[in-house]
Amino acid sequence: MTTTPTSDSARPVSGARAARLLAAKIPHAVLRRDEAYGEETVYVAREHIVEACTLLRDDPDGLYRLAVMVTAVDWPDREPDEPRFDIVYQLRSLQYNDWCRLVVQVTEDDAHVPTMEKVFAGMDWHERECFDLMGIIFDGHHGLKRILMPEDWEGHPLRKDYVSFGEPVAFTHNIEWALPAQERPPGMPGSAR
């Protein structure tokens, strides 16, 4: 069988340029670098994320000027003292035809990051979406309110502890799981009434 490699495999590592730039210019901001699947991820300290993005945007060796996205990943099963949320920033450089990924890690009790909307106007909506669905607070954002869910919605649906569906349906074989004893009608097995 003939398989030609896709055009992807020949390409340089995405984000390597940004990682080198950050390590050279503001090494104190870079916590860790991680390369996998031809993509390099830079873990940045929270207090330096705005500085890092501004540098990537303005430095002539970077010019990551296109705001791609902000999102977050929830890791509730990590150790209690480890950060629960990974906040992922992606920027694109048209001049050097590259994109990069920066990650800021925050804990559940302190799920705050500084807003990026002063650096990229387009991050406004992405940050609102991230707040809406994941509950990350972007400090300094001009109007951090829900964008996709109704304004009076409770909870943040994309968190792992937010159960999406699975309304219990009571059958005789699963009655103990589906209905607490107090709620069972009289006559039903195990009814407390």
Partner: protein, 432 residues
């Protein structure tokens, strides 16, 4: 002689007699000062009016609500209200196996479903480290470009309809029918095809595929000429669209606007050229760009893009290689039927894939494809299971729409319709 009209009060000289006056309660109500009496008139230009446009307005292309702050007919501020179509696909992804996610991706950008399948499949394939055979890659390209044509036709028809031209709408639907027929032929479904799967395709294309594609390729350029004859130099069209909704290059980058919006502003950035995936580098095509970044330039870009798409389809079809369409990795793609009948191992693979799907290695990947609206990216985080741990869809319509307030500020309210049409949003893509 009696008065025809009842007198407005008791006759002069007589005391009011309430029992005889049936209008007394009503009159008493009228004498109560209302809010209107306390309103102070302001000079024109001092005050603004808030107007809701949508979510049921036909020219908002779906359920988009715009809160417009108007000063006369001029838009001072525009606040889009989105989320009416939010379906929680990103949450649903987390409880579906990778192949089960494919039908979900169809329903996001519902005007170009194959391109959504394409982007998701490529991201998962990057995670798995597998390649699709050349024939599969070429057929994927053909299906994606047909979807792009179909999507641009819907944009063309509705955009023109919004601005008062009815004929293009009917023409565009006529041509789109042929593309939907091809979808039906290869996948059995006209819109939500789910034809592009992780590891390859749903199936190889049937023999009738060739002639049908050839017919589209042969007739389409003449059809585009027809459309352009109707619209491109039409003075009404040019008057309504030129210099309107201007987005400079800097604005595009700031808002993350991609696709024809970015190219209309003059940047020749197209992911099919810049970071070619699935053998796009085998084909010869151009990237049309505009110069002013207004509604008219975005229109020209998309019209030209349709011609380029036809060029790609023609080359891909002419050079369509033989061989399999799916990866040979049996841990990912279903084994062919005849193999299941003879090989126990294939039967096991089939069973495992259908019941629990495949597992991916741990890690995070991002893969972006050029959708008709711009950069459509899939960011997938895997924890080693058979479902995505987290899948974020970077929707082009979402970023493009966030630039709308900037584009319509200071324009007339009638032009808002033209600007919305020119950014070609799909609300399913915005809200996901």
């Amino acid at each position: 002689m009696a008065a025809i009209l009842p007198p407005s009060g008791p006759p002069p000289g007589l005391p009011p007699h309430e029992e005889d006056d049936p209008f007394a309660p009503a009159r008493a109500l009228l004498n109560v000062p209302t809010e209107l009496d306390t309103v102070e008139l302001v000079e024109i230009g001092q005050d603004t009016m808030e107007l809701n446009m949508g979510p049921q307005h036909p020219s908002t292309h779906g359920v988009l609500r715009l809160v417009l702050e108007l000063d006369g007919e001029v838009v001072r501020e525009c606040r889009p209200d989105i989320g009416f179509l939010h379906t929680g696909f990103e949450k649903s992804f987390e409880s579906h196996t990778y192949q089960q996610c494919i039908p979900l991706t169809d329903r996001m950008d519902y005007l170009a479903p194959p391109i959504n399948n394409f982007g998701f499949s490529l991201a998962v394939e990057k995670l798995l480290g597998i390649d699709v055979p050349l024939r599969g890659q070429y057929i994927r390209v053909i299906m994606a470009e047909l979807a792009r044509l179909g999507s641009h036709l819907v944009w063309f028809g509705t955009h023109a309809l919004d601005l008062g031209a009815t004929t293009p709408f009917l023409y565009a639907w006529r041509e789109r029918e042929h593309i939907l027929d091809i979808n039906e032929l290869v996948s059995g479904v006209r819109m939500m095809t789910s034809f592009i799967r992780v590891g390859g395709l749903m199936a190889d294309v049937p023999d009738e595929f060739g002639p049908m594609v050839e017919q589209v390729v042969n007739t389409f350029p003449r059809r585009i000429d027809e459309y352009e004859l109707l619209i491109t130099k039409n003075p009404i069209w040019v008057e309504r669209t030129r210099g309107l909704g201007v987005l400079t290059v800097e604005d595009c980058l700031q808002y993350g606007a991609t696709g024809p919006v970015l190219r209309g502003s003059g940047i020749p950035y197209d992911l099919r050229k810049a970071q070619p995936y699935s053998s796009y580098d085998h084909f010869d095509f151009d990237i049309p760009i505009g110069s002013r970044g207004d509604v008219y330039d975005r229109y020209l870009c998309r019209m030209q893009e349709m011609r380029e798409s036809v060029k790609i389809i023609r080359q891909a079809y002419k050079n369509l290689p033989g061989g399999p369409v799916n990866t040979s990795d049996r841990k990912v793609a279903l084994p062919p039927r005849n193999e299941i009948n003879t090989s126990m191992e294939s039967l096991i693979h089939h069973f495992k894939l259908v019941t629990e799907g495949f597992r991916t290695p741990k890690g995070q990947v991002y893969h972006a494809v050029e959708s008709p609206r711009g950069e459509l990216g899939f960011y997938i985080v895997s924890d080693g299971g058979n479902t995505p741990y987290r899948c974020k869809v970077r929707a082009p319509s979402f970023s493009n729409l966030s630039a709308l307030p900037h584009m319509v500020r200071g324009e007339l309210i009638a032009d808002v319709v033209a600007v919305i049409g020119s950014i070609d949003i799909v609300l399913g893509d915005v809200d996901r």
